[in-house]
């Protein structure tokens, strides 16, 4: 069972729909006990960093997430990925979960537009189990802020007026800046790979 953390930050249904479609059992939850009992955890999210941090604080789940994320496969998606880092700078400075070292800052893109919306190509930096069977494919991004972190933690970049952190991995913690649940067959394959790491979640 994968727990999808529901802290009121959008698009959780599409993650649930995608897992249902590939036959992986999951539950939307904001309960501490469900997160502790789950075999894997997904932290979704759309919106602004400080607002999401507030919502997580209100839900009282921050300590549970920090403690559980290092014990079982944990995947942050989009804003949920950005929350993995030390700090975010969207509107104001806010503390993230600090599971991966680095900060989340507004992208400087020159002539290009923000948000970075659309299908962009992954550039593999190093091996990551989420990428098994997947090459440098196109995936779907929607964001204006991006994580700046050590290349050691980056599994894949994409190019948007420079190298942008697209997929990160440190131990059991994974984070996708793009939306696997909206990235067609490539994204479903990635979610299958994630489920494959989760106890009892093999597809």
């Amino acid at each position: 069972m994968i727990a999808i953390i529901d802290y009121g930050a959008g698009n959780i249904f599409s993650v649930k729909n995608a897992l249902d479609y590939i036959g992986v059992s999951s539950q939307l939850t904001d309960k501490r006990s469900d997160i502790i009992n789950a075999d894997g955890i997904i932290l979704p999210g759309v919106g602004a960093f400080p607002h999401a941090v507030n919502m997580l604080e209100k839900s009282g789940l921050i300590d549970t997430i920090k403690e559980q994320a290092v014990q079982k496969p944990f995947l942050g998606i989009c804003l949920g990925m950005q929350l993995l880092f030390d700090k975010g700078y969207e509107f104001e400075e806010a503390d993230g979960l600090g599971l991966i070292g680095g900060n989340v800052k507004l992208m400087e893109v020159g002539e290009l537009t923000l948000p970075h919306i659309g299908w962009n190509k992954l550039e593999i930096n190093h091996d990551c189990p989420l990428m098994h069977g997947i090459g440098e494919e196109y995936v779907y991004f929607v964001h204006s802020y991006a994580a700046e972190c050590s290349p050691d933690d980056v599994a894949a970049y994409c190019d948007y007026a420079g190298k942008r952190t697209a997929l990160v991995n440190r131990g059991t913690v994974y984070g996708a800046q793009f939306h696997p649940e909206k990235s067609g067959a490539v994204g479903l394959k990635m979610l299958k790979n994630f489920a494959g790491m989760v106890k009892g979640g093999q597809v």
């Binding site: 948000p115 299908w119 479903l188």
Partner: protein, 257 residues
């Protein structure tokens, strides 16, 4: 670099896909959920549903179509038609849409764009525009399915939309729509030059060649077509193969699942 997107559009009335020619002569072509799934298989980068139902009951049926599609199609879904309020936007996003497209109502009440962008983010607010040429290098905005001329200058409207926080523009040419003679290059170029937000080209696609043409001659980031794909005159993968051959970046097929 971002891939150029190919977007099939499905006009839905009372739960069935229909396609009008110049907004009249509507024909039914099938089940919207099946059509969307087929486009997904063909490699569509996004799918647009447009609700042309007039009734309240029809609205519920339409949102069920969105809900069912979101359970089996995993590319972005844009939903338009009949969206008048922030609550309509919320309800549509909750049904599984990733973006909403507002058209007539945005012209009548531009604040809807700002409110929608402030609450849900610019990325999910697409403004649809139906425009028609009225003089050399001059176009005006029409509403109600292209029936009412608002005497609003297209370029002024585009600039206003951007300031209000729209994330994207879907520009339909009333002159080109249904003609299959190609996208309205002149109008698209004028709009792309006037704004920095992404522009989707709509109206007029009739042949393979029209797709590379619109990307080579204008700054459009996506091309939308309806009847061309419905009646299988072309498939999405055929269009993408041609673009790929012409060195225009597109998302290519993935056989890994």
């Amino acid at each position: 670099m971002l891939a150029k997107r190919i977007i099939p559009c499905l006009d839905v009335r009372d739960g069935k896909v229909v396609k009008g020619v110049n907004f009249t002569g509507i024909k039914e072509v099938g089940d919207p959920v099946e059509c969307a799934a087929e486009y997904n298989r063909q490699g569509a980068d996004e799918i647009v549903f447009y609700d042309i139902t007039a009734s309240f009951e029809g609205r519920g049926v339409f949102l069920d179509v969105v809900r069912n599609t979101a359970k089996q199609v995993f590319v972005p879904l844009t939903v338009g038609g009949g969206i008048k309020t922030v609550d309509d936007i919320r309800e549509t996003l909750r049904a599984g849409a990733d973006k909403v497209s507002v058209n007539s109502q945005a012209v009548k009440n531009p604040q809807l764009i700002k409110d929608g962008a402030d609450i849900f983010g610019s990325q999910c607010i697409c403004v649809g525009i139906d425009a028609k040429k009225i003089a050399d290098k001059k176009w005006t905005v029409f509403i109600n399915g292209g029936r009412v001329d608002m005497e609003l200058d297209l370029i002024d409207w585009v600039k206003q939309i951007e300031q209000l926080g729209a994330g994207e523009i879907c520009l339909n040419s009333i002159d080109a729509d249904g003609t299959k003679a190609g996208f309205d290059i002149e109008m698209l170029e004028a709009v792309c030059n006037a704004t920095s937000i992404p522009v989707i080209a709509s109206g007029g696609a009739g042949q393979l060649e029209h797709f590379p043409e619109v990307f080579e001659k204008t700054g459009a980031t996506a091309a939308l077509a309806a009847s061309l794909f419905h009646f299988r005159e072309l498939t999405v993968d055929e269009v993408k193969a041609e673009l790929n051959k012409r060195n225009i970046p597109v998302r290519t097929a993935f056989g890994g699942i």
